[in-house]
């Protein structure tokens, strides 16, 4: 058994700063949400400790280093990437790691519970943010062996050609790398999407923008459909605008294919909003709560709406939160010229009067 200080598997609810380095940003965020009492699908993290042990156990680390050292050109990086990922697939984790993953998986919902297996990177800030999209995620994975196999595939995604190039560009040494993997109960989403607790166009911190489509969130995240767009005033909770798009496809679990697939949305539903106004309000309120809990930093949140109980009730679940990166990275400049006293500001205002009345609905987004 592993020492308690270096577990291979940690429940999401236990993901907190003391273990932060070994569970990655995504898991930390989810753990934080859970401890706030927010609805997050249950799950666990395969820690960086498991990753490191696996690398150490079979000499994988050395072999990876050797491949990377030889990979100077783009071509060479592509070949190295393929070989490294094959190495991961051929070297299974130690039996005790596998046992822990299996046990944790069974505890989630039995031998066939569908789960999402998602990378939770641990590299520092900016790199982490930009990495996020490049690391693998797998939806609707079923069965303990399949889960273990996908955990390993996630590890391998540290070595996509893009990731290799990106690290080379930033001068990040590969030997310090590690990855945690989140395994989370799959949400049978009827609608899902993303939310920014800031207006991405104007940087207005008082606005929340929600983008949503039918089915799993992948359609929105990958930009496969034009989502419905809802703008909500963060302070007053008012729905400021709702732009309903024609959403031609949706991702759902496809039992025949044994995985997630895109299907056409029936024509009469395509132009219908995928959320009720009440749900939009609930999602926005969750966004406000999450942002507060995260120390007031604007958040980039993934969420899903899924059936809850019978009679058509639906609930909102949070799937991920991370700091918004574009506006948050800017150094904010004070609005009024520094040192300009109140009377000076009044004079300025008189020279450029704003009309107090003419503003229609918010023109958030584009």
């Amino acid at each position: 058994m592993p020492a308690a200080a270096h577990p291979h598997v940690i429940g999401l609810d236990a993901c907190d700063h003391p273990v932060g380095g070994s569970v990655g940003g995504k898991a930390l965020g989810l753990g934080f949400l859970l401890r706030q009492g927010l609805r997050v699908p249950p799950g666990f993290v395969v820690t960086t400790e498991a990753y490191r042990e696996c690398l150490a156990r079979s000499g994988l680390a050395t072999r990876i280093s050797r491949e990377l050292d030889a990979a100077g050109s783009l071509r060479a990086r592509q070949r190295a990437s393929a070989r490294i990922r094959a190495l991961f697939e051929s070297e299974p984790p130690a039996p005790d790691v596998l046992d822990e993953v299996r046990a944790a998986y069974h505890a989630l919902g039995g031998p066939d519970a569908p789960v999402a297996v998602r990378s939770s990177a641990t590299t520092e800030d900016t790199a982490e943010a930009s990495f996020a999209g490049q690391l693998d995620s797998y939806l609707w994975v079923q069965g303990a062996d399949e889960v273990a196999r996908h955990v390993v595939r996630c590890w391998g995604s540290l070595f996509t050609p893009q990731a290799i190039s990106y690290r080379a560009h930033l001068g990040i040494a590969p030997h310090g790398l590690a990855m945690a993997v989140v395994v989370q109960r799959m949400v049978p989403a009827e609608a899902a999407g993303v939310m920014l607790t800031i207006d991405p166009v104007t940087g207005d911190r008082s606005q929340i923008v929600i983008e949503a489509a039918f089915g799993l969130g992948v359609a929105v995240v990958d930009g496969e459909v034009t989502p419905d767009r809802f703008c909500v005033d963060k302070v007053t909770g008012e729905l400021r605008s709702a732009t309903i798009a024609r959403k031609h496809l949706a991702h759902h679990f496809d039992p025949d294919a044994g995985g997630v697939g895109a299907t056409a949305v029936p024509a009469h539903l395509q132009a219908q909003p995928c959320l009720t106004q009440t749900e939009v309000g609930r999602i926005a309120l969750l966004g406000k709560q999450v942002e507060r809990a995260m120390g007031g930093r604007a958040q980039d949140i993934e969420w899903a709406v899924a059936p809850a109980g019978g009679d058509g009730e639906r609930e909102v679940l949070l799937l991920q939160t991370r700091p918004e990166t574009v506006w948050s990275r800017r150094t904010p400049a004070p609005i009024a010229p520094p040192g300009l006293p109140l009377m000076g500001r009044l004079v300025e205002a008189l020279h450029q009067p704003v009309n107090l009345d003419d503003r229609g609905p918010s023109t958030l987004g584009s």
């Binding site: 207005d204 606005q207 007053t236 009024a336 500001r345 009067p353 609905p361």
Partner: protein
């Protein structure tokens, strides 16, 4: 009623010199003072600027006498901007009358160097008022109530065949005739002084609002004006007091067991007399009498016209509200305004926006800006009650006494005919009345003025048949005069909308300001004056030029409100928010384009009113 003779082309409204006189209104110019008219001598200036019809304060064809209110503010607003506080970019607001309607244009400061020099004076002088605001406002109230007291005390003596004995026994040295002329001058001066006070602090108050709004919009581009207004507004606005007093009287009526008598119907004045017959009725009447001054000095209009009567002049409106409140209290409803909630919300909103600001410097700026806006808010919210309601109710009644003297002298048939004379003409007429009382000779006046009043009555009717163009003259690149923007809500965008509407014509969509959120569909009821309020039926959509505080009770009945004039701070918007009704304000032409019975949709989120179905075409 169309205004097809008035052409709108390209980026200009018709020149004031091109607008034809409506048929039958020939000679209208003689009703008004020469200085308020467009003239060939001054054409170069008059043709070079954009003039707006001041539909916010003076939407109707002017009775000759009633120009006095805007002549008062022409003076008061202008002098404080131009010569006292030296508002750097702005002089006053100039006025003209065309076809009986008031048009205004802001006068900007164009000399850059002078504008720069004005900054120091503004900073010093406006700064003094801001620093001492609460004390100066207290002082202001004393001045204003003193002025109201003086007005009440003005005696308008009748002219009997023989003057009083005391002229001799007290050796007065003056006669009733002299005192009548003196009283007229004194009454006019009293109005001018009320308006001096009105603008003593007003524009400084609006400048403080402007400063906050501008900052808040830079920090939060998506913030709603309505939300900002809620962060500034106090919970104890004088405008709510008259209504609050009615609620108290409703409660008292139930406690004293006189509610049914009050609800019995008939003229309120007759009901009051009947109530006096019993001890409990008497107690209730006394309670009402005790709050009448000042709280029933509450105009059904803006107070700018002689026919804007107040509760005290016509108890019908407060009575309708009173009986409604009695019904609601009987049903167990609570009528208290959610004062604590309003304040709690104001503090919560303010704290949340403050927290969302990016820097500590911004928080300091925000605190200062909102602090100043709240300091001035009490004046902005309350000055109207003192001036346009309380003072003007008394003033219009006082000035009518001079009409009584002319009727007694055989000059006029009815006292209100006096309003067909402008203030200079009325002064002349009174002089002549007194002079002939003195000489004993017959005057030309009665013949001249009875005929003239009849003719002017015809002219005013003809002028009313032609709605005014919303604006005259060329449209500038940008409208940036701060008070036009703030007080009248006239902006570059708004003027372009007018141009567009005039060019398109007949569209079924009106755009205005989103005054209160929500959407409602319903039957339209166009109400042009307070006297028509009784026509409003439950759930109808009120379409009106502008609402006044005393219209409050009708908001309990309507489904939504749409006004031609006004912004987020206008009465219609504020009361609609309080009642949770959608409102679109400042549509410019709602009363002209919507007809009673039309089916309309009001979208208080976007500020759009759509005519869904025309009346009679269902």
């Amino acid at each position: 009623m169309t205004s097809t003779d008035v052409s709108v082309t390209g980026s200009r409204f018709p020149s004031p010199f091109e607008v034809p006189t409506p048929p039958g209104a020939e000679g209208w110019q003689r009703m008004y003072p020469w200085y308020l008219q467009f003239s060939q001598e001054n054409r170069e200036f008059e043709d070079s600027v954009l003039w707006f019809q001041d539909g916010m304060h003076h939407p109707e064809v002017e009775f000759p006498f009633d120009t006095i209110t805007h002549e008062c503010w022409r003076l008061a607003l202008g002098q404080y901007n131009s010569r006292v506080f030296a508002v750097p970019p702005a002089y006053g607001i100039e006025q003209r009358i065309l076809n009986g309607y008031l048009y205004i244009t802001p006068i900007p400061v164009t000399d850059e160097q002078w504008m720069g020099e004005r900054v120091a004076a503004f900073t010093r002088r406006a700064g003094y008022y801001y620093q001492n605001w609460d004390r100066l406002f207290e002082q202001w109230k004393t001045k204003m109530t003193g002025l109201i007291g003086e007005l009440k005390a003005v005696d308008v003596p009748a002219l009997p065949r023989l003057d009083d004995e005391e002229v001799v026994t007290r050796a007065l040295g003056t006669t009733r005739g002299y005192r009548l002329l003196e009283a007229y001058d004194h009454t006019l001066e009293n109005l001018f002084l009320a308006w001096q006070y009105h603008f003593e602090m007003l524009n400084l108050g609006y400048a403080a609002y402007l400063n906050l709004f501008r900052f808040a919009r830079q920090a939060f581009p998506g913030i709603r004006d309505e939300t900002l207004a809620q962060m500034v507004a106090g919970a104890d606005i004088l405008f709510f007091r008259p209504d609050d007093e009615l609620k108290r009287l409703a409660q008292l009526a139930l406690e004293l067991g006189v509610a049914d008598q009050i609800r019995a119907g008939g003229r309120p004045e007759a009901t009051v007399e009947a109530l006096r017959a019993t001890e409990r009725g008497c107690e209730w009447v006394q309670a009402m009498e005790a709050v009448k001054d000042p709280w029933f000095h509450f105009s059904n209009g803006a107070g700018f016209y002689h026919h804007h009567r107040s509760w005290i002049d016509d108890l019908t409106i407060p009575w309708a509200a009173l009986t409604g409140y009695i019904d609601r209290l009987e049903r167990g409803e609570r009528l208290d305004r959610p004062r604590a909630e309003v304040l709690e919300r104001r503090e919560r909103l303010t704290a949340e926006y403050r927290e969302l600001l990016a820097t500590d410097e911004d928080r300091t700026t925000f605190d200062q800006n909102i602090g100043l806006a709240r300091t001035v808010a009490t004046y902005i919210e309350d000055h109207n009650f003192y001036v346009e309601h309380w003072h003007h109710t008394i003033w219009w009644n006082k000035i009518r006494e001079f009409g009584d003297r002319l009727v007694e002298g055989g000059w006029l048939d009815e006292r209100d005919d006096m309003f067909y004379l402008n203030r200079w003409e009325l002064g002349q007429a009174l002089y002549e009345l007194v002079a002939c009382w003195a000489t004993g000779a017959p005057s030309r006046g009665p013949h001249y003025w009875k005929a003239e009043v009849a003719d002017r009555r015809r002219i005013v009717t003809a002028l009313r048949a032609q709605p005014p163009a919303p604006a005259l003259g060329p449209v500038p690149e940008e409208i940036s005069e701060p008070f036009t923007v703030m007080l009248w809500g006239i902006t570059t965008e708004r003027v372009r909308q007018w141009l567009g509407a005039a060019a398109a014509g007949g569209e079924d969509e009106l755009r205005g300001v989103a005054g209160s959120p929500g959407q409602v569909e319903g039957r339209a009821r166009v109400i042009l004056a307070a006297s028509q309020l009784g026509e409003v039926e439950q759930g109808e959509i009120l379409i009106c030029p502008i609402t006044a505080p005393s219209w409050g009770p009708v908001f309990g009945k309507i489904g939504a409100a749409v006004s031609d004039i006004g912004g987020i701070m206008s009465h219609a918007a504020i009361v609609s928010r309080e009642f949770g009704l959608p409102a679109v304000v400042g549509t410019g032409s709602g009363t002209k384009r919507v007809r009673t019975g039309d089916r309309v949709r009001v979208d208080g989120d976007t500020g759009v009113v759509t005519i869904l179905e025309r009346a009679g075409r269902a």
